[in-house]
């Protein structure tokens, strides 16, 4: 319902995606189609991160994103992340892309649910951006782009009222409704139950601006306090120490939105989410309705801002697997429950010929005009490309 929700949704999901990709890139070497000496090196990983981040924070893209608009469907948004994940030399199979998106969405759902105040969603966003700036700390050009977006966020959101933030939060919760995919790292940390629902603690610090429950104060008709009473409940709350910073730099205090993955804590999901709650989610995913005009416009605008790199020489660049083995990835693709399939939009297959031509034209314009060095080569060429970013 809030027309200001999309930037927060996009940036936080993007942030989670980068955490996951970074962890997988560090943890995994890619066999196969590359020259034999090649493994994922730091250079490759940074290249991928730089490419994706600079695409994500493209100026024109950000301008479109920040325009007041309704949230669009899960399908449309998923397609954007598909393109974003492929903004570099890295390739993901459908099964890995599905898993990536599951993890991203469940992580942000968790963060939104557990935010003490609706306004704290902004702190979560800042946590993601702080981490993103760390990923590209060596590239001043991209750093500038991110800072620009940071400033735009501050300008757009710092002045909103609590009520408006709650509306944004409610809009996000409607988007995430009925998603109960189980995430291993959440299950292990006991922040998610085995039925896929998140644990909501009834202890800890109360939100900034809220008092610890328990006090009743009675005032007489002159406004003078005449009585105090207390009540107790099962909750075990304490006063918070300090408020997080909403400035460009500062201690956010809140841990939600910081990177919970590390090389030793791999990303996994369980796909056995066969509860009846999926029925409502299934309705949205399965119904094959043609893209509405607005949805196509949205995609065209966003994709118009993306600089998609195509790998040359062969159909794959470096492939990233979000599972531990190729067999696991293959198995996941075959056994993914129908109701959880994202049915990524095939943009060419629209029903409006005019619109199709328009999108194809836009996509065509995104073709890399100059010949690029073969991505199979390492060393100098990659460095040269990085310098060119």
């Amino acid at each position: 319902m809030s027309a200001r929700t999309l930037p927060l949704l996009f940036l936080n999901l993007g942030g989670e995606m980068l955490y996951i990709l970074d962890q997988r890139l560090r943890a995994q070497s890619i066999p196969g189609e590359k020259a034999r000496k090649d493994e994922w090196t730091d250079v490759d990983r940074k290249r991928v991160m730089n490419d994706i981040i600079s695409t994500m924070f493209n100026k024109k893209f950000m301008e479109e994103l920040f325009k007041p608009q309704d949230l669009y469907s899960k399908k449309a948004l998923r397609t954007v992340y598909d393109r974003l994940a492929h903004a570099s030399i890295m390739r993901l199979n459908q099964a890995s892309m599905d898993k990536l998106y599951d993890l991203m969405t469940m992580a942000f759902k968790y963060q939104v649910l557990l935010c003490p105040r609706p306004r704290d969603i902004l702190l979560v966003t800042f946590n993601h951006l702080d981490a993103i700036k760390d990923f590209i700390s060596d590239s001043p050009g991209i750093l500038n782009q991110v800072d620009e977006t940071f400033r735009r966020l501050i300008e757009t959101y710092n002045c909103l009222s609590d009520g408006e933030f709650q509306l944004i939060r409610q809009t996000l919760l409607i988007f995430f409704q009925d998603m109960h995919i189980r995430v291993s790292i959440f299950l292990k940390d006991k922040v998610q139950n085995s039925n896929g629902r998140f644990v909501l603690p009834i202890s800890g610090p109360v939100p900034w601006g809220t008092e610890v429950p328990g006090l009743i104060r009675i005032f007489n008709h002159k406004g003078v306090e005449v009585k105090r009473a207390e009540f107790t409940t099962a909750g075990n709350y304490v006063t918070p120490q300090r408020e997080g910073s909403f400035e460009l730099y500062g201690d956010r205090v809140l841990k939600l939105g910081t990177n919970m993955y590390s090389v030793t804590r791999p990303v996994e999901t369980h796909m056995s989410g066969s509860s009846k709650n999926l029925a409502s989610q299934a309705k949205e995913n399965i119904a094959p309705k043609p893209l509405a005009k607005e949805e196509l416009n949205f995609l065209a605008r966003l994709l118009g801002g993306l600089d998609i790199q195509k790998p040359t020489g062969g159909e794959t660049g470096f492939r990233l697997n979000l599972f531990t083995t190729d067999e696991e990835e293959e198995h996941a693709a075959q056994t993914r429950p129908e109701e959880l399939s994202y049915k990524v939009i095939n943009i060419e297959a629209t029903q409006e010929p005019g619109r199709r031509a328009e999108l194809v034209r836009i996509l065509g314009e995104l073709e890399v005009a100059e010949p690029r060095p073969g991505s199979a080569e390492k060393g100098e060429d990659l460095l040269a490309l990085m310098d060119g970013l």
């Binding site: 319902m1 608009q69 609706p118 609590d162 409607i174 409704q177 109360v206 601006g209 409940t233 709650n277």
Partner: protein, 336 residues
Amino acid sequence: GVPSLRPYRRERSLTLRSSSSALYNNLAVLCPPARPPAFGAVHGTTLSLLGNEGPPRQLQARGGGSALSTPLLTQAAWCELPSRVLLVLTSQRGVQMYESDGSTMVFWHALDVPEHPAAHSVFARGIAAAGGRFICVGTSFGAVLVFDIPPKGTNVTLSEVLEQHRDPITDIAAEQGQAPDGAGDLVTADDSGTLCLWSTGEEFTLLGKIPGSGSTCSSVRLWNGIVAAGYGNGQIRLWEAGSGRIRAQVSAHARWIYALDLAPLTGKLLSGAEDSFVHVWKLSRNLDTDDIEIQHCHAECVTDTQVCGARFCDRAGDTFAVTGYDLSEILCYGPA
């Protein structure tokens, strides 16, 4: 006197076809005399109805037009008037009114929705029957629409637009008991926490305004000249409607309050919040000092659930029902 401290216990749950959305006051209850109650909860674009007769039913938000998505509902409530009961739905597009079983649409009012989304969201929210004759509905512009309802038929007219709020309306409540002189019989609340007190009639009169103090008032009730208001910072405040003075302040919840309800026969107050708790309180007036008192009666923790709706199911407050975000049930509680 000593409030009735009989505890409550969890009874059966009712299954909803879809889970409830995180919206303020997201539980509608109709308690016809000598019949089981009917319930309604909003899920995105639909209202799930559990009637006392017949199979469950779903109502859709109206007014999709050429837009990508069907508009989202914000709230639903049964409005009981002397001559009839109407079921009212509010959405991003406007106001829908149905016969109380949801079978027939009686009236549709479209909000002025701009062609391109403006920075400020557009929606209707806040529903109450008032003055034995009107249904009041709030808007995100801060305006309160007053609809004049005929005893039967579809000839509903927009009688007045009240423009005293500058922020989106959150909730509206009519006097459920006896208003003292000069206290007004309607209260409207908004995002900034501002409360307006009105006297209803052919023309509504603004009797007083209680300014907000930095926290959203998400839910409000009016009983015997006492305004009970629930806030985003977890506080419940009781105000004297006539004077606009604060009479009680409770640090009731650790998170944003989403729902309040009041049982008019006993003065019991129910509060539900994002902190997973539902509390039952007892309001009373000390006849000697004329102070308004509030005591805590009972607490329920709905594990791992952010409560979004809470309502008594009888006028004495012996039973109540609760909804939560992502929960596909209505939880019912009764006397232990």
